[in-house]
Symmetry: C3
Amino acid sequence: MISSLTLILGGARSGKTRHAEGLIKALPAPWIYIATAEIWDEEMRARIERHKADRSEAGWITVEAPLDLAGALEASHPVLVDCLTLWVTNLMLGEHDIDAATDRLEAALARRTTPTILVANEVGLGIVPDNKMARDFRDHAGRLHQRLAQRADRVILMVAGLPLTVR
Amino acid sequence: MISSLTLILGGARSGKTRHAEGLIKALPAPWIYIATAEIWDEEMRARIERHKADRSEAGWITVEAPLDLAGALEASHPVLVDCLTLWVTNLMLGEHDIDAATDRLEAALARRTTPTILVANEVGLGIVPDNKMARDFRDHAGRLHQRLAQRADRVILMVAGLPLTVR
Amino acid sequence: MISSLTLILGGARSGKTRHAEGLIKALPAPWIYIATAEIWDEEMRARIERHKADRSEAGWITVEAPLDLAGALEASHPVLVDCLTLWVTNLMLGEHDIDAATDRLEAALARRTTPTILVANEVGLGIVPDNKMARDFRDHAGRLHQRLAQRADRVILMVAGLPLTVR
């Protein structure tokens, strides 16, 4: 099993997670689901429960890693990271150094010996947001996507649940 | 004439309607234009009049269906639905059951015996909106697009007036 | 050297400028960088300085053209216009006639005898903005992109730093 890296980008409700689950389930179990979400309201909790129900069958191991993504990637099984966008949000809200965290993430990816699938929201194709924090967030997310796409073997843009191959 | 289903997605002013009109006019007339817009202000009226002027030649039959899209699809000629996004908006504003309406839409599509072209706005590729209604709208639109793309023979993403084939 | 026209679209931090620079540097120097930005705050100044640092090597000539893009395109060397989105913004803020300015831009492009690369932000794939000015801006940008894509030899959508060929 090669240590391939797949980056799945897409908009809201574009089927990113479902596509990622399909890809990882073509590999031998167990599959590590790295959840980056921090639950801070009921809307978020409902979204997470809905996603969790999709992974109720045997074979899945869920790991929560809202900040230490590099640490969670030490796992020796195929992993699905869902998603980078919440991870960047958590880093920003906690006022962490995003460039340094991305360096650690890249180093951890370089050490992986099994396939890795990263899911991320494409958020930069709308009107420039009014508030500075949203603009900074778009910049951080965009830079992160570029760095990871650079080292990915496969980059996919999801459109209405269908994969469009970018690389 | 086969009962093919085409889904045309795209952003604001990306040439979705024009492309859809080009596709349907390659088929024998008459062509049914199903307008889902409800006019609630002058800006909307201006947009609609601009689109209507593009369809002034013989061959077009315009049908207004802000809510009962399934009923309008009983027509036995090629149809262009413009657009699903306003239909979802109308359903939300009227507090209708969107999943049930989508079930009826899918059943009507399954009964079609002539080509159908559906136009929809891709709205999920920007920053997460501040207000809950906009977030819910993105979710409804995204889920609808996934369901329809699943059964479509052809899915197109318009970029600057040019079609990018997704399926 | 043929007078080819390339249109590079993409979201925020999608690597548009870097990709455009790579394309133009495959051509013989000098390369004209037409900057359309008007500096109106520190955030904008920082962005511009960051971009400028990427073009510090010999071969680059920077021309500022916040409004008279057609005039700047009279240059007889390969040009990179960065970006159309700020140009449209400047036209709107100055209450200029955007259609007339686009006519002049198209006429200038038709007279070019060396390659031209145009960079523009795709801004139409998010939720419909609340304020009228942002909606008008999306419409202007979208129409401009369609007109230029129509005459472009090559249209590229940048995704996470990678080019997706639209035409």
